[in-house]
């Protein structure tokens, strides 16, 4: 058994008034320091799984939960209100992640630390570091409500990262962002991965999941239908039948292979594709 940051054992969850469970008999382990990508079609239960892992369901959403969710070996109720220090959560919509009581970005990022009772000097040091990391230093005195979607999402990420949680659950952070905003958010996520944080990321942009994730979980109708290394999962040509898009390079690699191109493995990232295509071209031309 691995050293799990979060472990789900036979988790089934039904929302209040719903007839069918949103998550059904799901068992999965998220190892410490791992980067997990959760993919699946709309309504597959990705966000529901995230709110269960964070303890918002059933606590906030009510409903019925069976099975067990363990965070570093302890059940969620054992943490009481202190789960915020352990698990950071970033939501999909950047506009709803502003506290609504702070007048500047600096104060907004500091808000969580104020709630944690961190000393003033330490707050300033940590906030400055995080603002530099997330590239929002120049926004420090702006109102959080006057920012663009990408800037707001970076502020939301900074507000969570500053709490230094061991585990980060990030739910479709780029769904409302332009390519530039998406790149800046993923640059931050990559830095968090380098810091060995446990990251659970829900994302539709599978190209990015392919590039960053250590493991991929595929959900459909609340069930975990596949779990494994990105190269195994995202090169599976039956995945689109489950409502999940594949990386574009994987689709291209498969098409070339079907046309007789000598490709050893289906690439899932641009880097792998360049290597595979170069090898295949060399073989075709007879050069080593």
């Amino acid at each position: 058994m691995g050293d799990y940051a979060i472990e789900c054992k036979n988790v089934t969850y039904t929302y209040p008034l719903a007839e069918n469970p949103a998550i059904q008999d799901l068992s999965a382990g998220f190892e410490k320091g791992g980067f997990y990508g959760i993919i699946g079609e709309n309504g597959a239960g990705k966000t529901t799984l995230c709110v269960i892992l964070r303890g918002f369901a059933p606590d906030f959403y009510k409903g019925e939960l069976t099975g067990q969710v363990l965070v570093e070996g302890k059940t969620i109720p054992e943490y009481k209100t202190e789960l915020a220090a352990k698990i950071g959560y970033v939501f999909q919509n950047p506009f709803n992640q502003i506290s609504g009581v702070k007048e500047t970005v600096f104060e907004e990022v500091s808000y969580g630390l104020e709630n944690f009772g961190v000393p003033v000097d330490e707050i300033e040091e940590r906030v400055i570091n995080v603002m530099q990391m997330t590239d929002i230093e120049e926004l420090a005195y702006k109102s959080p409500f006057e920012l663009s979607g990408g800037q707001m999402q970076r502020v939301a990420l900074a507000s969570v990262i500053v709490l230094e949680p061991d585990i980060l659950i990030i739910d479709e952070p780029t769904s409302q962002l332009d390519p530039e905003g998406t790149d800046s958010v993923f640059r931050i996520i990559r830095e968090l991965k380098e810091k060995k944080k446990t990251i659970i990321l829900v994302e539709h942009k599978v190209d990015l999941i392919a590039e960053y994730a250590d493991e991929v979980l595929v959900l459909k109708n609340g069930k975990l239908i596949a779990q494994g290394k990105p190269e195994d999962i995202l090169s599976d040509m039956s995945l689109p039948e489950q409502g999940v898009a594949l990386p574009q390079v994987a689709v291209l690699g498969n098409m070339l292979r079907q046309k007789g191109f000598p490709i050893d493995r289906i690439p899932i990232t641009e880097k792998q594709a360049a290597e595979e295509f170069q090898k295949a071209m060399s073989r075709r031309s007879g050069r080593p």
């Binding site: 709110v51 964070r54 918002f56 906030f60 009481k80 209100t81 202190e82 915020a84 220090a85 950071g88 959560y89 939501f91 919509n93 506009f95 709803n96 992640q97 502003i98 506290s99 609504g100 009581v101 007048e103 500047t104 600096f106 104060e107 500091s110 808000y111 969580g112 630390l113 104020e114 709630n115 944690f116 009772g117 961190v118 000393p119 003033v120 000097d121 707050i123 300033e124 040091e125 906030v127 400055i128 420090a140 005195y141 409500f145 939301a156 507000s159 969570v160 709490l163």
Partner: protein, 269 residues
């Protein structure tokens, strides 16, 4: 490391009246409001008019001048004065009773109408005016911080602060929704009926959006340790101007004097 950021979010008011601690300003507002109601019981002239409410209003511009906020108070004061003028006109012409003081065609001004117009419009002007002074000299975060300092639950202080912030946000959102509705062909400008028709298609998404957004905001707060059971830190510190005690004493004296004056005046009559 220099405390640059934290220093820059502080509010240091040079004017010692504007810089009074918010609870002292709150006391002044309370004392002024009580005094307004006391003055409203002085019925002068044969028509029993509450005429003292009129000069009493001039305390507000004086307060604004000595607080150094007269210029920035003007916009809000104009709005209050407009509402007050509408109330005055409505009461003056619509309330019958007593002797007719003036008539022109179907328009008539009765004694009761004049009495009610002065009482209501100046009560509104005086009480709303003192709140204009309070909000022009006190920022939302000063009020919220003072509330927490006074022992108010942090959740209640949050509700107060976020409600004030939300007024601006909802205002901006409503403009975005209006623009979106206009782009879809909904007429939003024109006479009162056209504007009324545009009201509901704009209001429903605004309210629903706010309700849906509030759910995620609650979870956002939880994710940032809002409910953590510990002593919270406050980066924002409130200053005292040093005039709090004299201000409270003076307000108490004026209100007490007015109350005493009212009692004596009542006995003498």
């Amino acid at each position: 490391m220099e405390n640059n950021y934290i220093e820059k979010i502080q509010i240091h008011r040079k004017n010692r009246i504007a810089g009074l601690y918010p609870s002292a300003k709150g006391f002044i507002v309370l004392a002024y409001s009580i005094s307004t109601f006391i003055l409203g019981t002085f019925h002068l002239t044969d028509m029993r008019l509450d005429l003292l409410l009129i000069p009493w209003f001039f305390v507000i511009p004086v307060l604004c001048i000595i607080s150094g906020v007269l210029a920035k108070s003007m916009k809000a004061m104009k709005a209050v004065a407009t509402v007050s003028a509408i109330i005055f006109a409505a009461q003056l012409f619509l309330i019958p009773g007593g002797k007719v003081l003036w008539s022109f065609g179907f328009l008539k001004i009765y004694v009761y109408g004049l009495r009610s117009a002065i009482r209501l419009s100046f009560l509104v002007l005086d009480v709303a005016g003192i709140f204009v002074w309070l909000f022009q000299t006190t920022s939302n975060k000063e009020l919220s911080r003072a509330m927490e300092d006074s022992g108010m639950n942090y959740k209640a202080a949050y509700v107060f602060m976020s409600s004030l912030q939300m007024i601006d946000i909802l205002g901006k959102n409503s403009k975005s929704i209006m623009n979106a509705q206009r782009a879809r062909g909904v007429e939003t400008e024109g006479n009162l009926i056209i504007r009324a028709k545009a009201f509901f298609p704009s209001l429903v998404p605004l309210i629903l959006g706010a309700i849906i957004g509030s759910e995620e905001r609650v979870l956002t707060l939880e994710a940032r340790g809002f409910s953590m059971q510990c002593q919270k830190t406050h980066l924002f510190k409130l200053d005292h101007s040093g005039l709090e005690k004299p201000a409270v004493i003076l307000s108490t004296l004026i209100t007490s004097a007015l109350l005493a004056g009212r009692v004596i005046w009542g006995i003498m009559r």
